[in-house]
């Protein structure tokens, strides 16, 4: 049952991903990408990470994609005007193919390390994913977490300056 579900989700994810790169209209690409993101959120749920799934939907599918769609609308770009697409497509596909090939060989030939951490499925069930991740985040990773805020601040300032000025 779970396998089947996984396969369906995978199918949807791959199809929507391919749509992202093939659609002429960027709006369509964006919608397809949202679809992919939803599929990924589903994976996260399947991996016992509901909090990540929620964040995925909110941040990516919600915030980032909305931003993109706004931009597309703002710039009013309808159709990708690309003409000579083909030879680049060939090269791109070759690269893509070899990327997949390499990865699969690594994945198949390699052996993952055995579980070392304390967070088993039962534990997650017991305490709840959000609490565990929060505990980790605000103890061991407190400093990077705080630093992140500076990163965001810088990004905001940068975005404002870039968008405001005529460069």
């Amino acid at each position: 049952m779970e396998t089947l579900f996984f396969l369906i989700i995978s199918f949807v994810a791959i199809v929507s991903a391919i749509l992202v790169i093939t659609c002429k209209n960027p709006i369509n690409s964006a919608l397809a990408l949202i679809m992919t993101f939803f599929c990924l959120a589903t994976y996260y749920v399947m991996l016992d990470a509901p909090f990540m799934a929620a964040v995925q939907v909110m941040v990516y599918a919600g915030a980032i994609m909305v931003l993109m769609v706004f931009t597309i609308m703002l710039l009013n770009i309808r159709v990708d005007s690309s003409k000579k697409h083909s030879h680049k497509l060939v090269f791109g596909s070759i690269i893509g193919f070899f990327t997949v090939l390499n990865s699969i060989i690594v994945i198949v030939k390699g052996r993952a390390a055995l579980p070392t951490g304390p967070y088993s499925g039962e534990m997650i069930q017991k305490f709840g994913h959000t609490e565990l991740i929060g505990r980790e985040m605000f103890t061991n990773f407190l400093l990077p977490f705080e630093v992140t805020s500076i990163l965001l601040l810088v990004a905001i300032v940068g975005a404002v300056i870039l968008a405001k000025k005529k460069i």
Binding site: S29, S81, S103, I104, G117, A155
Partner: protein
């Protein structure tokens, strides 16, 4: 929970599709979306490994990656707008002054 390998393969496929998109498309926004897709593919690996190893670190990383992606989206889109203001286009082929 499904086998670790299947998630990783899924991640690889998504990453490859993203790469192809980055290499072949000319629309800057689409390229940008493909980059996001590649980041997400990486996220998937992180989460899968995290679950497999029973360690939360990977998921924390995903969280940070998302932050970076958000920041990147903000700055990147601002750049695209700035570029569009200058060139009336968002075609990467028009951004070729970075040559000799």
């Amino acid at each position: 929970m499904e086998n670790l390998n299947s998630y990783l393969i899924m991640s690889a496929i998504l990453f490859a599709i993203g790469t192809i998109g980055v290499l072949t498309r000319k629309n800057v926004i689409v390229i940008f979306m493909c980059v996001e897709m590649m980041l997400n593919a990486a996220n998937l690996s992180f989460v899968a490994f995290s679950r497999h190893l029973g360690n939360m670190d990977g998921q924390i990383f995903v969280f940070f990656i998302m932050t970076v992606a958000a920041a990147e989206a903000a700055v990147g889109l601002a750049l695209i707008i700035a570029f569009y203001n200058n060139k009336e286009s968002i075609d990467v082929d028009d951004v070729s002054i970075m040559k000799w």
